[in-house]
Amino acid sequence: MSQSNTNPESAMIQCVDVHKWYGQFHALRGVTLSVARGEVVVVMGPSGSGKSSFIRTINRLEEHQRGTIIVDGIELTHDVRNIERIRSEVGMVFQSFNLFPHLTVLENITLAPMRVRKMNRERAGKIARELLERVRIPEQADKYPGQLSGGQQQRVAIARALAMEPKVMLFDEPTSALDPEMIKEVLEVMVDLAKSGMTMICVTHEMNFARNVAHRVCFFDQGNIVEMGPPAKLFSTPEHERTQLFLSQILH
């Protein structure tokens, strides 16, 4: 299938020269990134640099106009079947949780497995309860999202994405709408997930998470990756001046 010779077959996500325009505005300017299976990539950068736009193109919440995106050997094109397949392999967690408020926690989690994967109710329910166990809120299954704290909601959102048994998880600033103690709860779950070998792309400015868990950190500016490398190196000796400036602001 993918006859790309720049990266080995083992790459889970391959983006080559991805461009995106919003009308006239050039939001992504030739992003090239390859993520290996089991790799955890953290994406950082100033506001408006295109981080969200980038990870949203990976599961087609936004359409890219130029370049190639290949997820697990499937290229993202206008082919509806490919889009469906990629979406069911890529889980996404949003900054604002986006739980379905009219469904209980359990229904939120079982909805997609039952409707998209055609799983029966018992099995979906069993998996959902296991996942709630894993994100450490098994007792909240029958509550509605509105009755949970922000941290609990975000963990339900993670469980909901995991219920589709994705091969890749995308996180778009999952903790920036949360209070400090809740951030900790959510990060613990994300660390567990990373340790379990999940391929992850996380847009986050949590330095500790990046330092301890990420295999690689990408620094975005003005619609492109300006610098990329292992966290230890990028944080201690950033080469690009934009990176230096940004890090100095974030580290005070």
Partner: protein
């Protein structure tokens, strides 16, 4: 502590005085306005009450109560209408038991509605001189009330014991209820228990309620589709829906009812032929009016539903997409349930409006509640009883609208919807 025993009445008197001062006599001008208001009130109420108790000939209503209720519906089949009412009691009981058992206000409102409905069958048995072929009609109103409350309570009892999953049955039960009623009222065959009763014989409150119910049920899906179409990304679909909605909302209902009466039949082909079967398609006048009302109401429904759709955050759509739901699943499972719940009170308001608007079918010569009123006034015996007749008609409309409005204001949606 003698004083404390004497105090309460005193404070009470003082607080009444204080209430009077604060609410009626804050200043001299305020006092004058109050006096003026009381004079105005009395000068309106006293003559009206005097008239109603002494001069008014309420006999016109009492003697024609059956016409007001069901029009010329054949008396031997009237029991079919009452079966509809009893079924309604049962379904209401079940729904109350399953959905709203904590909401006493709603229960009380539903009960009131039934008490009123219960008085009608009783009232119908008043012209006792008539020979009655069917059964059921002569039962005194008390029996009807007992029957309805029993059925309602039965439904409630069953529902209260039923498992939570039974909730899913309530929707279908309501959806099924209307066709069942329609069959009961209209009949099926040329004779037998369910002999056909032509729509020219439907009348009075029965016809008003039938047109309202059909209008609600038909305009609902149509309105939802139009609302979705208006938000569609496809320019052609969007333009079409906007055109329809704005056209309908821009013209008076009466023009649409006339169009339904005069032009709708012309849109049908002269003959329809399916192999050996060939017939001349016709729609009777009641159905035409129902079509007109539905087409009209759909445009308003669409705008109300659109209001709900606009309030669904973008994140909900994105989360559904990210989970891999199809466009249809996204709409039916995620977006519409939330949007519709948001606009339930507005939709109830619109349905009340629709109920009131059905009175316009009088102008295209149908004998709904108001139309029957006009025919009653033509009886030589009751010349000059316009006030009595129209006040009675207005009172019926008022009670139904007010009770429905009161229910919708009290109705608390299941907690999930009101949150977030």
């Amino acid at each position: 502590m003698n004083t404390s025993a004497a105090l309460p009445p005193l404070t009470e008197r003082i607080s009444i005085l204080r209430w009077l001062r604060q609410n009626l006599f804050r200043s001299v001008a305020d006092g004058a306005v109050t006096v003026l208001g009381i004079v105005l009130l009395l000068s309106l109420v006293i003559p009206i009450v005097t008239w109603a108790l002494t001069e008014a000939r309420w006999q016109v209503v009492i003697e024609n109560i059956r016409l007001f209720a069901i029009g010329q519906y054949p008396i031997e089949y009237v029991w079919r209408v009452w079966v509809c009412v009893l079924l309604l009691a049962l379904i209401c009981g079940v729904s109350w038991g399953l959905w709203l058992f904590r909401q006493r206000a709603v229960g009380a409102a539903i009960l009131t509605a039934f008490l009123l409905l219960g008085l009608l069958p009783g009232a119908l048995s008043i012209p006792a001189t008539e020979k009655v072929a069917g059964f059921g009609l002569m039962l005194p109103s008390l029996a009807w009330l007992v029957a309805m409350s029993t059925l309602g309570a039965l439904g409630y009892a069953i529902a209260a014991r039923a498992p939570a999953r039974a909730r899913k049955l309530v929707g279908p039960a309501w959806i099924l209820y209307l066709p069942v009623c329609f069959v009961l009222v209209a009949g099926l065959g040329p004779d037998g228990l369910l002999a056909t009763v032509g729509s020219n014989l439907w009348g009075g409150l029965l016809l008003t309620l039938l047109i309202t119910a059909v209008g609600i049920v038909a305009s609902f899906p149509l309105g939802v589709l139009l609302a979705l179409g208006r938000r569609s990304k496809l320019p052609v679909v969007k333009a079409f829906c906007i055109g329809y909605i704005e056209l309908i909302r821009g013209v008076p209902l009466i023009t649409i009812l006339f169009m339904a009466q005069l032009i709708l039949p012309l849109f049908l082909p002269d003959r329809v032929t399916f192999g050996p079967i060939s017939f001349r398609p016709e729609i009777d006048r009641v159905i035409r009016a129902m079509a007109g009302v539905s087409l009209f109401s759909a445009a308003y429904m669409a705008e109300n539903v659109r209001g709900g759709l606009q309030n669904i955050p973008r994140g909900q759509f994105e989360a559904a997409d990210a989970l891999g739901l199809t466009a249809t699943q996204k709409m039916t499972l995620i977006v519409l349930p939330q949007a519709l719940r948001m606009v339930v009170p507005i939709l109830v308001g619109q349905f009340i409006g629709l109920f009131k608007d059905t009175s316009l079918v009088t102008i295209v010569s149908l004998l709904d509640l108001l139309g029957i009123g006009n025919t009653v006034l033509a009886q030589p015996k009751f010349i000059g009883t316009q006030r009595e007749v129209y006040l009675f008609v207005a009172a019926i409309y008022w009670i139904f609208s007010y009770v429905m409005g009161a229910i919708s204001r009290r109705l608390e949606l299941p907690q999930s919807a009101s949150r977030r």
